[in-house]
């Protein structure tokens, strides 16, 4: 296992370097240089001051030198400084990270709590009316845009419950109750589509496991059906779900951008948007790199958990 952990962990390094190159180039490929973007059309600038600005941003250097310098900074934990606020990018991210992590975790919990039981029920009642209904509803849930569902939830709660999303975020360490009141609805909106994915995955893997020989043996030795399902089938059928959880973290980390925007939550997702519209390139670069790193680490964790629960992977 130790060897697998080491090999799998090291294997993300080339991808990480690739991601850093992609993020670095993403900003450099924008038509016109950053300097022209900054100057815009307001006022005239001499060639000399343009050159000075280019030198200030290091744009007068060859591209590989620029990348090397930037990567060196990143490896030292320095994601640069925001042009608009003058604050370190990493500080801006970490001050908003709690909201994003809480929202992602909340949505994941909603998805697991709804998706897995529905998947089990659907598989146990295969090809019944209940099964068909659950399957169609899950496909329907996959078809609802997160931001629209969020908007409709706000509309419904304001019409029927006379409730509006709080303006200011409250940390769970300040008041858990107030925090849950803020985070519950966004988690529900964001988690719905993922719940549908989990439902479908649980159903199909459980059905597959239920057709295997060892289940037939369990039945043949006289075990009752609930014991067969809960004691024998479910554990094995949930293993492939671990990988799907990893993939869905990516969906959730993207979904937080729109969810935070609709519910005006001060998270990293909204920070990315703000940076994009402010053309604050160091901030765009830093936030996208940070979120991608989170995604890669969650995938790494998922693979390690998978190898832990399924020995065939680490000895394969």
């Amino acid at each position: 296992m130790r060897r697998y952990v080491l090999v799998r962990t090291l294997s993300i390094l080339p991808t990480l370097i690739g991601v850093s190159v992609a993020v670095f180039l993403m900003i450099r490929l924008i038509p016109g240089t950053i300097v022209e973007q900054m100057i815009g059309t307001e006022g005239t600038y001499s060639e000399q001051s343009m050159r000075a600005l280019r030198a200030f941003f290091g744009l007068d250097q060859p591209i590989h030198v620029q990348y090397g310098r930037w990567l060196g900074q990143v490896l030292r934990g320095d994601l640069g400084t925001s042009w608009r606020t003058g604050l370190p990018v990493l500080q801006m991210i970490t001050s908003r990270l709690q909201v994003t992590l809480e929202l992602t975790l909340g949505a994941m919990l909603v998805a697991l709590a709804v998706g897995i039981p529905l998947g089990i029920v659907s598989a146990r009642r295969e090809n019944t009316r209940l099964d068909h209904t659950v399957r169609v509803v899950s496909l329907f849930s996959l078809s609802i845009p997160v931001f629209w569902q969020a908007t409709m939830l706000i509309l419904a709660t304001s019409l029927w419950l006379d409730w509006a999303p709080a303006v200011d975020f409250v940390s769970p360490f300040t008041s858990l109750r107030a925090n849950l009141a803020i985070i519950a609805l966004p988690s529900l909106a964001l988690g719905t589509a993922v719940a549908a994915v989990f439902m479908r995955m649980t159903r199909s893997t459980l059905l597959e496991v239920m057709r295997q020989d060892y289940i037939r043996t369990a039945r043949a030795k006289g075990l009752r059906e609930p014991a067969v399902v809960w004691g024998h089938a479910l554990k094995n059928s949930l293993i492939p779900l671990i990988t799907v959880v990893g993939v869905q973290v990516g969906y959730l980390l993207g979904g937080v951008v729109v969810t935070e925007e609709v519910f005006t939550l001060p998270g990293v997702g909204r920070l990315i948007l703000w940076a994009v519209f402010q053309r604050d390139y160091p901030l765009v670069q830093g936030t996208i790199l940070f979120v991608s790193l989170l995604f890669m680490l969650s995938n790494l964790l998922v693979d390690l958990v998978y190898a832990y629960v399924d020995p065939r992977i680490r000895y394969g």
Partner: protein
């Protein structure tokens, strides 16, 4: 082929999904005839009118007819989805086929680049690319294409590796066929099924991503009536004119649900192992 598609016609959900898609396609094709008003025509005197006989979906803040804008929005949704997935399909499939068939360093390079693209959360990558290219319809389509190309590449590569060892491929090679002929004439037709399923499901997601980008202000720009842009415009008027938000959202759901139903049915039929799952 007709024989293979027969189960599709027996599946009521697939038929329903196809009907929804046809509805959206017809609305898009005949938007000018079907829409009662010009989607960009402003009548400020009629601003924020609730749904009524002359305006079944109400009007927006400029007095524009929400029904007409929703109908015309189907053009943008379908246009962006089809063009982006067509590019992703073509580029991703070619990369997957070439990588899988040749193996060696081209496969390694393509695989690594795809790994990098897979390492970004989908919507974040689309936002990053759309921001890089600048807001707009074509750029949103290109952003979605870049996001989805790796998926097609991965779906194509797997079966190619299995297919290249088969007798009919070895025979074609033995007869002196060059690699493009072997790949596109002898291998591609046999790996097409999973790609078609992927395309159908991806179309659904492409509509959702275009709507998300437009909602965030990075896709279609006003006054063009994209469903996402309309929802963005409706945000400020949620309490006073909720119809501005309700109907474009329903339209997105209908279109995406149609493609999801079709994709699900196709997967059942083209991949018999999954039938009924």
């Amino acid at each position: 082929m007709a024989e293979a598609l027969r189960p599709l016609l027996r599946n009521r959900l697939v038929l329903f999904g196809t009907a929804l898609i046809l509805l959206v396609v017809l609305l898009a094709a005949f938007a000018d005839l079907v829409a009662p008003y010009d989607p960009t025509e402003m009548k400020v005197a009629d601003a924020l009118k609730r749904p009524s006989a002359p305006h079944p979906f109400g009007t927006d803040r400029f007095g524009r007819d929400v029904l007409s804008r929703t109908i015309h929005g189907s053009r943008i949704a379908l246009g962006v989805a089809l063009s982006s997935i067509a590019i992703a399909f073509a580029a991703g499939t070619v990369l997957g086929l070439v990588g899988g068939y040749t193996g060696g360093w081209p496969d390694l390079v393509i695989g690594r680049v795809m790994d990098v693209l897979f390492s970004f959360p989908t919507l974040i990558l689309a936002i990053g690319i759309a921001a890089m290219l600048g807001p707009g319809l074509n750029n949103a389509a290109l952003a979605i294409a870049v996001v989805y190309a790796p998926l097609f590449s991965r779906v194509a590569r797997g079966p190619v590796i299995a297919e290249r060892e088969k007798d009919h491929v070895v025979a074609a090679q033995g007869l002196g066929a060059g690699w493009p002929r072997v790949v596109f004439r002898h291998i591609l037709p046999n790996v097409l099924a999973p790609l078609i399923v992927q395309a159908s499901v991806s179309l659904a997601f492409a509509i959702l991503i275009e709507a998300s980008l437009s909602y965030l202000g990075l896709g279609t720009q006003p006054p063009d009536p994209s469903w996402g842009t309309m929802l963005n415009e409706g945000r400020t008027y949620l309490e006073t004119a909720p119809w501005m938000s309700i109907f474009p959202g329903l339209a997105i759901m209908v279109a995406v649900f149609g493609f999801n139903l079709l994709g699900d049915g196709l997967r059942d039929i083209l991949d018999p192992q999954l039938r009924g799952r």
